[in-house]
Symmetry: C2
Subunit: 501 residues, 2 copies
């Protein structure tokens, strides 16, 4: 780890005088930082926000912009869906699991309608229409999308309702969310210092976090925080060194970030004795086109199916990349291939075509009989509209007939930075500082470190081993808000009372 | 984390006087602690060893006692096997991977013959005979066993040689290794304090670890270490709280430990700013009888094969538990069932028997046609002595003929604590403190924390995501020795020069 810059805490006694002072100091101006800054300022605190880049936004601004919200939002109702916090909770416990954070998730679901309204009050608009097909990101301005709720086994666990809320823009919408949140934080009184990177926590004799040391254009600066520091510095997908130590599965793959998610906040706090949590957990996306996979089958390198192809794409990605031997193939017949919407736009082209499965499996280097037996069983059930293996929706079930095509599935976004990875796989990290539901950072004994909070991907949030789009902007803003209020001394309801020190 | 005892470091200035003093203080008297204590004492240091239990041994003493050694040991040669450090390295990089620690593994393999002789010099004897069948633990006193080296794909990566070295005892041999190592450390001059649990590191004004605070029968004690503290406190499988934060996959399963592996050393060091590494990685064993699986097939809950059944049992365990939907089943025919050695002793009994695969898959709740197609393809290839899916050795390949049996594979040790788990799965943790090859514990900036070393399962060793028996006693003793020598100021060759502070 010789390449990492020092992050050891600095004793307050060694700081001759502070260059800047505030009540609440937020480090990082992505979605969690903006939400925290807004709430702290709205609660009456004097708030400064440090951002190492030239302006606010962070990785949130280059994200897709889905927000995972539900429990009966106005958009859900307008689209004709009934939803409850309990159904939302049951779905997320399963889809973000195993091992999702039950306490955080319960609050997140119970508070989701209020959180949706909070976004609208900050000026975001959501069209009251549903995009009703499997997709990573709809090419429309529909305000609502499915994020796997209607796919097996989740449709047996909770009443399905679409909960992907999208601000009114086509394609990537993260920038629009950040535009509104940054404006809200600023209007509430938070002041941002750009090009300013926090490098070390400052800690008082009493063990309380008292501020940070930072750098701007190479010059050192000191910030005093009278009440608290909130770390919203993001994850660590951009640090090869930290990936090697904690999440090596992402090494060599594409990174979903603004390029600055190097884990600096996690390291600064850990150097002061903070506990981390689930540092190995990642979002990982296989950039495959859902509209292609639903029309055929997704198989592993041995020709075996392993998931219902109509599941949320983030989940077929995890099922493939973390658990199956590659290479992965989409197997389609001519009718399915011709049926793929905007096939050419997405660049979908067969790698191999064959009149028989014997030929095709030979081209793919699979064991003789591998595809033949997989497709044989699939067809036998599909004729009756059934998929007893993985329960793909009957509307996608149809026996495959010659000629057949094998397509490399690692394509499908058509645009966006995920495509830049040669492996067809891209992701980011979900592990981070161990926090209470109010964002208080815990030490190695489970006690809050006085004056220190964290939210967003610098912390471990609602996630277990699974990931659903919209839950990172979702929990970053939700728990960012809670951290902002708690840091300002006016916590939101639902927190556990914690005794500092 | 409210249930965890405080581990925050104590300033040396606040310690009025030390109750005990030494050069090198070893915390934990398992295999790594014993190896470290021996080497530090042999190098001339005044050594104290703290052990929280009533006597030495730790989890090492209740382990199977396999030592993963090779590169051309005397036992390997006597059994007619040629081996090289390079072949050993190539095998372990693959079998302990992906993401095994290349630097530590290189040293481990290059030093393995010397390390074997070191064990013999400490009084351990190894019989010069091979147990030549797949097994978790041979029911013989053979000194050598295969640990997966002759199974696909590993037999294509490195020249196969058996490297499981076993001291001359039947069944679990960990106690015998510990008996010899504890005697060696004691004879070299190390003094042990039993019933003494270290609770906090003591740190000087200069940032150097200066000793520990401990408790014995409820009373506090202080220890000064003039040169260094070596943490060999084991992993954290016995802390539900730490498992929940870092390795939840083990929650609810059996624990392979002495019951005291609660991560206390990892937490003490992390509270002082130490970096951890790969905290999610675990050894996980599905307690299935290898001699049963090789004679049939291992399938997942959907009737799919996923691994060659003759692979090292630790690897079919990982393949199943971490990556496949359960329940798992062993599918055998009558001939295979009758052929299982000591079938009744191991308690192998069919759960279901059937004349046809259609009946059997119905009994197992599998999709219609699932077993039929899996066995169909398997038989087609087995007739020609081939397994193009997973390359099980031809000697195990034979078409399965009716009647068929399905057996719950979660049995097979017949003795030992692993069986006590109702889930049929048991394991321990492999993540821990981030150390150099000499055991120096690194901080969040990648710099050694002066005066602090770690080895064994309190540290992250040679392992990536895979596990092979004998590598934990193996790297615990190997890097325990290096830490002991480095802590005494006389490092062994091959280390990276590190500048303290």
């Amino acid at each position: 780890m010789s390449s990492l810059p020092p992050v050891e805490p600095v004793p307050a006694a060694s700081v001759a005088g502070f260059d800047h002072e505030c009540d609440v100091l937020v480090v990082g101006f992505g979605c969690a930082g903006a939400a925290a800054a807004y709430e702290a300022a709205a609660a009456g605190a004097d708030v400064l926000v440090l951002e190492r880049a030239g302006g606010p936004g962070g990785s949130s601004a280059v994200s897709g912009g889905e927000l995972y919200l539900g429990g009966g939002t106005a958009v859900q109702k307008a689209c004709g869906f009934e939803d409850t916090p309990d159904d939302m909770f049951a779905y997320l416990m399963a889809a973000l699991g195993p091992h999702a954070d039950e306490e955080k998730l319960r609050l997140y679901c119970d508070g989701s309608v209020e959180h949706f309204e909070w976004f609208r009050e900050r000026g975001l608009t959501f069209n009251e229409s549903l995009y009703d097909a499997p997709s990573w990101m709809p090419p429309t301005q529909d305000g609502l999308m499915w994020l796997g709720e209607n796919a097996w086994p989740y449709n047996t666990i909770a009443r399905p309702a679409p909960r992907g809320h999208r601000p009114a823009t086509e394609s990537f919408g993260g920038w629009m969310i950040m535009e509104k949140l940054v404006a809200a934080a600023t209007e509430a009184g938070a002041v941002a210092h750009a090009d300013t990177q926090a490098t070390n926590l400052v800690i008082g004799d009493d063990g309380r976090v008292a501020g940070v040391v930072a750098r701007r254009y190479g010059a050192p600066l000191t910030y005093r925080a009278r009440r608290a520091v909130i770390l919203t510095t993001g994850g660590f997908v951009d640090s090869e060194e930290l990936l090697r130590q904690h999440a090596p599965v992402l090494l060599g793959h594409g990174k979903v970030s603004d390029g600055l998610d190097d884990g600096s906040g996690i390291r600064m706090a850990a150097a002061a004795g903070a506990a981390t949590r689930r540092m190995s957990v990642v979002e990982i996306a296989l950039t495959a086109l859902p509209a292609m996979l639903t029309r055929g089958m997704l198989v592993n390198g041995l020709g075996q199916r392993f998931v219902n192809e109509d599941v949320y794409p983030g989940l077929f990605s995890v099922a493939a990349v973390l658990h199956q031997p590659g290479p992965y193939w989409a197997i389609l017949d001519e009718e399915g291939y011709e049926d793929i919407p905007k096939r050419d736009l997405w660049g979908v082209r067969p790698r191999f075509v064959a009149e028989t499965l014997t030929e095709l499996e030979e081209s793919l280097g699979m064991p003789p009989g591998a595809l033949e037996s997989t497709v044989g069983v699939y067809n036998r059930h599909a004729e009756r509209g059934e998929d007893p293996y993985f329960h793909k929706d009957a509307k996608w079930l149809r026996p495959l007939r010659p000629p057949y095509a094998a397509i490399d599935p690692r394509r499908g976004f058509g645009a966006g930075d995920r495509e830049s990875s040669g492996t067809g796989v891209a992701g980011f990290t979900l592990g981070g500082l161990h926090t209470t539901v109010d964002g208080a950072v815990l030490d190695q004994s489970g006690r809050p470190i006085p004056g220190l909070y964290a939210a967003g991907r610098a912390s471990s949030g609602i996630h277990g081993d699974g990931y659903i789009s919209g839950t990172s902007l979702g929990d970053g803003t939700f728990f960012g808000r809670r951290a902002g209020r708690a840091a300002a001394g006016r916590p939101l309801p639902g927190g556990t009372l914690v005794t500092e020190g």
